[in-house]
Amino acid sequence: MNFEAIKDLLYRLGDDDLILGHRNSEWTGLGPILEEDIAFSSMAQDEIGHAQAYYMILNELFDEPAPDIIGFHRKAEDFRSCKLVEYPIGDYAFSLIRHFLYDVAESVRLQDLTRSNFKPLAELCKKLLREEKYHLLHAMTWVKQLGNSTDEAKQRLQQALDFAFPLAFGIFEPTAGSAALAEDGIMSAEADLEAHWLTEITGLIHDSGLQVPEVKDKTVGYGGRTGQHSEHLQPLLAEMTEVLSIDPTAIW
């Protein structure tokens, strides 16, 4: 097994969840209605919990630092998250569409990983899928509801989709270790996962009465997997670690 490639994969998985979890937690107290505020915040908490679980494998099996150190003490260029998750929350239509695109992708990837030859990850993903089921249902029900409602709702969702959809291909940006992971039966190739996701998401977008945007360049969201991030990651990290950096040695 190529352990460097597995390590990199765990960082990608954890960082995507941590950054999106933090982003989505920015809605706490500001959500469109109380009930949705609570549901969205709760899912953000789930994502951060998933990140911690991936970091825990890195810590226990690969001798990487403790999860808190991995999460809160790295520079932007050391993160392996994709660009999609870094973007500011925007209006609720964007946050909802991003959650929809991301959680369909995550559930495709987690399903694949339950068959992984790297058993600790396969076992973890089986557990995470339980929460993922709700995330998926939440995203799909909302998009379907709003996509089939008023003209304003449709227009705002479509606009958000047109912006986020090309970026979402960055979730599947191929990495140096992708081929090795597929060869060792750790995880299917990014291209195969992407194809699976595209079939699923295309069907769901149609069901929601929205148009699948034309994608001229699917590499616009690339870069995150090699540490080349958008301008949004650094400010996010600064804000996320603002209290911690007052006294980095404080015990919580």
Partner: protein
């Protein structure tokens, strides 16, 4: 004037300053649903509260996080509040018996002892 806060998320949210806030009509919201929660299979669903939702499907989705994120849960029901027919509190006196009906109440029977004895006999066999 925009709302300024120590919380950067609030300042970014582009909200009107407090004195310029336009209160919303209290009835401009979606309808409410009543939520019933079941702890384990075979037990009764218990009414736990209500919530706003635009459709029964979303009421179920939102009910999961409002009412089942701490308690153990195997099943949820949602019912439109308007579908609940309720008696009037003005008629509450009809629930008060006019004569002694304590014979209808099940206390006073010493069942526990009988059941324990029966169980012990079963185990003995």
């Amino acid at each position: 004037m925009k709302l300024n806060s120590l919380d950067p998320r609030v300042s970014r949210a582009d909200l009107p300053a407090e004195d310029q806030y336009q209160p919303q009509d209290g009835l401009n919201q979606w309808q409410t649903y009543e939520v019933f929660h079941q702890k384990s299979r075979g037990t009764q669903h218990i009414h736990v509260g209500s919530l706003h939702a635009p459709s029964p499907e979303l009421a179920l989705i939102l009910a999961k996080e409002q009412y089942a994120r701490r308690m153990k849960c195997v099943n949820l029901w949602v019912v439109r509040t308007t579908d609940v027919f309720a008696s009037s509190y003005d008629d509450a006196d009809m629930f008060e018996p006019a004569t002694d009906k304590s014979y209808r109440e099940a206390f006073g029977y010493k069942n526990k002892e009988i059941i324990r004895k029966y169980k012990a006999e079963l185990e003995h066999k």
